[in-house]
Amino acid sequence: MDPSRKRTIRLVVALSSALLLATALIYTSFTASTETKTPSQLLSAAPTPERSYELTGKVADGSWEREGAVNTFRVRDRDGTASVPIRYSGAVPDPFREGREIVVTVRRQGDMYVGERDSLITKCPSKFQTQAPRT
């Protein structure tokens, strides 16, 4: 085969493959992703039980209760007071506690939002600049 023709074919195959990969990637990004919401956005959106959301916010003070492997707590806006109740079954990460920022995938069930198993992550406080104790 003519070398220049061969090169053109290779280029077309390469570009088509790249285009295919890009299309599939974009399609997956829309179909397999979850919407990220804050508590106030969840409250105003009136979500349906079929949809799941990635909820971000802080664990509200005084709201965490544990009964066996079931945790209930409220997540509030990072800079606000609007909050939603969460029920999460299973072990929570070590850094999880009240006041800490978390990300959890939830689905509405009645008045509660139920956390998807193993979806709860807590922002690692290791690198957060804490206030030095002033004495």
């Binding site: 193993d118 104790p133 002033r134």
Partner: protein, 725 residues
């Protein structure tokens, strides 16, 4: 100390600026003296930064709380080892580590190449000094590690308990060494593009540093995974977190570069691709640093509330635009010297392997940044680990196949005879594995396919070793072990590389098995109760507790734990201890007793690691029964206890906590356990060690390269003598 530290940083910044100017001006004017002084500026910068780092280390060791960094990341109860390493748990301390490592590695490469690459080196020096100027600018103007505190606190906050793990403390220096070492091939690539010295010389000279960068980054990634598995209490080793992904991306493109560069050396092909890969790897290394510091993406590891995002973004923008401009500018000089002869050739497989690695990096990049991209489009969205796995899994399977296929094919064109000779045994090995897997009824097709390809690729590697040893024995009549050692010694790059391939295959098999066949359960048990997981019966045998004091006698933490008995077929096979450690909170509004239960808590994993499977356990003790006692204890300290001396208070607190923990072990409440049985997790760590050993063999200078250096030195001397004559 603080003033001296700030002074050293300013000196380093000034010297780095001088290094940029002197190197560029010297190169343009052909002034050798100025170029040499630019190089020496890098040495001076390294001395300044090592001294600044040592000063800060000394402050951590002395628990000098007049330093804000020490007060917020260490305490008198922090064990000495962790006090030494706490420096890089902070934003400013880790930036100082970055700058110091960059200056040390830059000094090393510039010293070793001082008599070579004379045209390229000054521009590389300017680029390396440019990186240093950026980081030193951040350290001097935005995130100084030498900030003071007034008044000086009596005690520090302490190192975050989650970071009190040996692998976590080695992990950041490894990652940063990888990132900073990747700046070296980046800088030399820029120099090669500017000076049009685009043959493989710069690649050969910087190869040890590229390999070292790849090795350090790989070790760093694996140590992070190990820390996650044994310390974070969730039972996994990889969560596709943005910061984890940031460290993986340059490793993937670096791996692609290490392969494709062989084609440039052998055939003068893929020059644009190689230079683009090395530039992309350097930029991705900076991107990794940016992701950790900007807080731009939701990550469990990101530094909080940082102001460093914008400068990093500007730097990345400049690097991308500059790199693209350079490659386009030199596109004509980067044309390949030869063409691909056949699809059935080693070059083709290497190219395919490159495409797979770059596709992996692209997928990870896209999904990692999807929250930002989607936010710009309207609604912020994110993808979870299953989506990452569904894309990366098939690409990893293909990569394992190519790992075996590459070495089996000849350069330029593989003939039918070559294919038959090289592939028969590996194909048979793969087929036998497939039959065995079908016979045992493997339930996961993707994992099964990976095992089949793994068997094929391992067979190729073994075959290569056997052929090499047989040839050596025929030539030198050596015994098998001697022939094996000679074989590897004489071609370290090739056989070290095969060992790296073997390690990667073992690692991938471990990942596939532990992901596909893991069994996990969360269960609440009282002492004496049992549950089943996999083939095991797990019994909560007894509760444990301990009040732990630091070396200076001050209370450090409380441990509440459990002893679990593991039975298989009714037979006791192991006893596992797991615990949760509670560290006191620095919140002054809390009572002294409750502060121990409201601070950080970490899980200490109970692990039975085995060659075939791991049994992984953590306990979450219930504190509800202890609450009334905790409240009572706080009340005592607030009442009559408020009048006692600090010494008496510490002793009384120790006695109270001892009473509390004893009551926990006497009458333990139900505890929640997470139990996981994962097959072949040990293979992941084992594979990583094999990769490291292979990498070390490949990087070690062989007898030929020492000879080459001697010859080069001799040739240079001879040329000088001839010049004089």
């Amino acid at each position: 100390m603080l003033v001296a530290g700030r002074f050293l940083l300013i000196v380093a910044l000034v010297v780095a600026l001088y290094g940029v100017g002197a190197s560029l001006y010297g190169a343009r004017r052909g002034n050798r003296g100025l170029v040499d002084s630019g190089r020496r500026a890098v040495y001076a910068m390294a001395v300044s930064l090592v001294a600044a780092f040592a000063l800060l280390e000394a402050a951590f060791l002395r628990s000098d709380f007049s330093s804000e960094l020490v007060a917020t990341h260490s305490s008198t109860t922090t064990p000495t080892f962790y006090r030494v390493t706490a420096i890089w748990s902070s934003q400013a301390g880790s930036l100082l580590l970055w700058a110091m490592l960059l200056s040390v590695w830059s000094s090393l490469v510039l010293f070793l190449s001082r008599k070579r690459l004379r045209e390229i080196a000054p521009y590389a020096t300017a680029v390396l000094c440019g990186f240093a100027v950026f980081f030193l600018g951040l350290l001097v103007f935005l995130a100084s590690p030498f900030e003071g505190l007034n008044p000086v606190p009596a005690e520090g906050t302490g190192l975050n308990p989650l970071l009190r793990h040996p692998s976590m403390m080695i992990h950041p220096p490894m990652l940063y060494s990888g990132y900073t070492l990747f700046a070296i091939p980046f800088a030399f690539a820029v120099g090669a593009l500017i000076t049009k010295r685009l043959n493989a010389d710069w690649i050969r000279s910087t190869r040890p540093f590229t390999l070292a960068a790849w090795g350090f980054l790989g070790v760093g990634v694996m140590l992070g995974a190990r820390w996650s598995y044994t310390e974070l209490g969730w039972g996994g080793y990889w969560a596709w977190d943005p910061v984890e992904n940031a460290s993986l991306m340059p490793w993937l493109t670096g791996t692609a570069f290490l392969h494709s560069v062989m084609i440039q050396e052998k055939r003068g092909m893929l020059k644009i691709w190689n230079v683009s890969l090395v530039l992309a790897t350097g930029i991705l290394a900076i991107l990794g640093t940016f992701l950790v510091r900007s807080g731009i993406l939701q990550s469990i590891h990101a530094f909080g509330a940082s102001t460093l995002g914008t400068p990093f973004l500007v730097l990345i923008g400049v690097l991308i635009a500059g790199s693209a401009a350079l490659v386009i500018w030199r596109a004509d000089d980067l044309r390949s010297e030869s063409r691909l002869d056949s699809v059935f050739s080693r070059e083709s497989v290497f190219l395919l392997n490159n495409l797979v690695l770059v596709a992996m990096c692209t997928v990870i990049f896209w999904f990692t940044f999807w929250p930002l991209i989607s936010e710009a489009l309207g609604d912020e969205r994110s993808v979870g680990p299953p989506t990452f796995n569904s894309w990366i899994g098939p690409l990893a399977i293909l990569l394992v196949l190519l790992t075996g296929l590459g070495p089996a094919l000849a350069w330029r064109r593989a003939t039918a005879a070559n294919l038959r000779r090289s592939l028969t045994i590996p194909v048979v090995a793969g087929a036998i594995t497939a039959v065995a897997l079908v016979a045992t009824g493997i339930g996961d097709a993707k994992a099964g396919l990976l095992f089949v390809f793994a068997a094929f690729s391992v067979a190729v590697i073994v075959q290569e070793y056997v052929r090499g040893v047989t040839a050596r024995r025929a030539m030198a009549h050596e015994a098998v072990p001697v022939a094996m050692v000679s074989l590897v010694r004489r071609n370290r790059r090739r056989y070290g590389g095969y060992l790296v391939h073997l390690g990667i295959i073992v690692l991938f098999v471990g990942i596939a098995a532990s992901s596909a066949f893991q069994q996990a359960t969360d269960v609440q048990l009282r002492t004496g109760q049992s549950t089943r997981i996999g083939d095991y019966a797990v019994t909560y045998a007894k509760a444990t507790s301990r009040v732990v004091a630091a070396s200076n006698g001050r209370l450090e933490r409380i441990d509440l734990g459990a002893v679990l008995q593991l039975r298989k077929d009714g037979r006791l096979v192991d006893t596992i201890a797991t615990k949760r450690s509670y560290f006191p909170s620095a919140d002054p509004s809390l009572g002294p007793v409750s502060s121990f239960f409201e601070g950080e808590a970490t899980s200490e994993v109970g692990l039975r690691a085995g060659g075939l499977r791991d049994v992984w356990t953590v306990v979450s003790p219930s504190l509800e029964e202890l609450r009334p006692l905790i409240t009572k204890g706080d009340a005592v300290f607030a009442g009559p206890g408020a009048k006692i001396s600090a010494q008496q208070r510490e002793e009384f607190l120790a006695a109270t906590l001892k009473g509390l923990t004893d009551s926990y072990t006497r009458d333990p409440p139900a505890a929640t356990f997470r139990l996981i049985v994962s097959p072949l997790v040990t293979w992941i760590w084992l594979g990583a060690i094999v990769v490291l050993v292979g990498g070390l063999i490949a990087i070690w200078p062989g007898p030929r390269s020492s000879q080459r250096m001697v010859s080069a030195g001799y040739a240079a001397r001879l040329a000088r003598e001839l010049g004089r004559a």
